[in-house]
């Protein structure tokens, strides 16, 4: 009886271990499958023409040109939004961790709201920004897109910066205070410097999210074959370029969607690797 129970127990452990290994292998396999499918389908279509030219005449029926409009558009949109979000997030994150450091209840509430905001789907931000845009009489434009994405990435950037600043040793604050520094001085010198790697990672994280998001700018950024020259013009983005071109009945256009997917994936990989490198060098 006892040995049977022991056998069952050992059997359960062995099965569990196999299931765990299998699940883990599955995840690695799927990552490989995603990268392989997207690259093998898209890489052959990535040509210099595609990444260096905006669409020419007849582009959407298989004519000449490329997706430069979407590449530039995505970068401009995400850079603008990351900059705006940075201007809001950095001071607020510093305030939270230095001036409000002793108000635990307030901080709990603030972090709770930020975490809930973090989870709001980007399509909801898009819909909200759209109503705001109509209400204010804006047109779909680079500026409207930037504002929408800013809303979307503020909780992400702010919360990541907050996490980075929470890692700064409390002794630094005490030592600086003892030397007579004001809280604002401590924030902009001591904390800023010692949390720099984490802060950079936060910006890169939000920037990557800004480049990759499609649902929020679907309503607000418009779409155009031209490279925008001012904030008031509509702008194409890479995710939307992929999405729209995939819906085309023309095979050549669909090929370009795959090529655009490769470009987008590489952009995201570069951002992710750079932020990893930057945070490691500093720390």
């Amino acid at each position: 009886m006892n040995s049977l129970r022991k056998f069952i127990r050992q059997f359960e452990e062995r099965v569990a271990l196999r299931i765990m290994q299998l699940s883990f292998a599955l995840i690695v396999l799927v990552l490989g499958a995603i990268l392989f499918t997207v690259l093998s389908k898209g890489l052959p279509s990535v040509t210099w023409e595609i990444i260096s030219q905006p669409p020419q005449g007849g582009y959407h029926f298989g004519g000449d040109g490329g997706i430069l409009n979407a590449i530039v558009g995505s970068l401009a949109l995400a850079l603008g939004a990351a900059l705006l979000a940075f201007l809001v997030s950095l001071p607020v994150a510093l305030l939270m961790n230095i001036h409000l450091a002793n108000r635990k209840k307030t901080l709990l509430g603030v972090r709770f709201v930020l975490d809930v905001l973090w989870g709001v789907p980007s399509i909801v931000y898009g819909a909200f920004a759209f109503t705001l845009m109509i209400y204010l009489g804006f047109r779909a434009s680079l500026l409207a897109g930037i504002v929408t994405v800013t809303f979307l990435i503020i909780p992400i950037m702010l919360r990541a910066m907050d996490e980075a600043l929470q890692g700064v040793p409390k002794a630094l604050m005490e030592a600086s205070t003892a030397l007579g520094a004001t809280k604002t001085q401590i924030a902009w010198t001591v904390y800023l410097r010692s949390a720099a790697p984490g802060l950079i990672t936060a910006v890169m994280l939000a920037f990557g999210r800004g480049i990759g998001d499609a649902a929020s700018v679907l309503f607000t950024a418009g779409y155009t074959d031209y490279i925008p020259t001012s904030l008031g013009q509509p702008v194409a983005t890479l995710p939307l370029a992929i999405f729209f071109q995939l819906g085309s009945p023309v095979p050549e256009v669909r090929e370009r969607a795959y090529a655009a997917a490769v470009v987008l994936t590489f952009l995201i990989l570069i951002i992710s690797l750079t932020s990893r490198r930057l945070s490691r060098v500093k720390s």
Binding site: E13, V110, G119, V120, P121, L158, A187, G212
Partner: protein
């Protein structure tokens, strides 16, 4: 008051104001969407909107049931697929894996989590949809492959890195003494691991809840593979039309038909309420358990 103190005062006041504005964002979104959806709520009635089956914007009929059921299909299916996989992988990585594995896994999870949803959508079209169509054909079910099952598969792949990350955190945050004591009392490694899971149960629950809400709100990838037919799917191989996909698909037309845009904003409001409910619950549990 000297210049430094003045600077301090200015910074804390102006930034405090900024913080207040950020805190008002959820309220503003909720209020804005509510105001926009009031006309349709008045015209059609809340019950009919949420659970009505008739959908024809041209005739002013707006029943969201097909879209809500479509969303439930992809979300619940994706949960059933991803929940065990992420749980077992997280256990394997944190309880059985070497430190080297742990170091290697982190960048992989980060990359998976950072991939834009449109890339997942492309992968879905290239690989998942044909696979679903193939399996359907083998089972004798007629399907194009664009189905709630395809949507659920893509969604589970998207939520796994997100949930896996949180589960790993949860298991690593359990006190190491727990396992040590169990082992020293003669428990097998696996039963010690089960104790770890029991200890981390609230965190596991909230990780799952956050994963569910992410899946529920995911738009582009699902839109690309779910088929988008206004119908109530009765099996996973049928096409469905999740709520976010509906909103995303109709941004162009909704301005031309009166009350259509109001209906779309109602859809967004519905999405916001459901997702925020999920999120708030999960975050609340995390707060409560981490405060102890």
């Amino acid at each position: 008051m000297n210049a430094l103190q003045l600077k301090d005062w200015l910074f804390s006041r102006s930034t405090g104001f900024l913080l207040g504005l950020v805190m008002l964002v959820p309220l503003a979104i909720g209020l804005g969407l509510t105001i926009q959806s009031l006309p349709i709520i008045k015209n059609v009635g809340l019950g009919e909107l949420v659970w009505g089956t008739n959908w024809s914007p041209m005739r002013g009929e707006f029943g969201f049931r097909a879209f809500i059921v479509g969303s439930l299909w992809v979300t619940v299916l994706s949960f059933l697929i991803s929940a065990p996989i992420s749980l077992f992988s997280a256990l394997y990585i944190t309880q059985y894996g070497s430190p080297r594995l742990l170091r290697m896994v982190h960048p992989v999870i980060d990359i998976l989590a950072g991939l834009p949803s449109v890339v997942y959508g492309v992968w879905g079209i290239l690989m998942v949809v044909p696979a679903v169509s193939f399996v359907g054909a083998c089972l004798g079910i007629e399907t194009s492959g664009y189905s709630v099952l395809a949507g659920a598969l893509v969604l589970s792949v998207m939520t796994i890195p997100f949930v896996l990350h949180m589960l790993m955190e949860a298991f690593r945050n359990t006190p190491p003494e727990l396992k040590e004591v169990a082992l020293s009392l003669g428990a097998s490694y696996w039963s010690a691991v089960k104790l770890v899971v029991r200890q981390a149960l609230p965190a596991v629950f909230s990780a799952y809840t956050l994963g569910l809400s992410k899946a529920f709100g995911e738009t582009i990838a699902v839109l690309m593979v779910a088929g988008n037919l206004v119908q109530i799917p009765t099996n996973p191989f049928m096409a469905g039309y999740p709520l976010p996909a509906l909103i995303a698909n109709n941004y162009g037309e909704m301005m031309s038909i009166p009350s259509y845009s109001s209906a779309m904003m109602f859809g967004a409001l519905l999405l916001l309420i459901i997702v925020m409910g999920f999120n708030a619950t999960a975050r609340y549990i995390i707060l409560k358990t981490s405060a102890k």
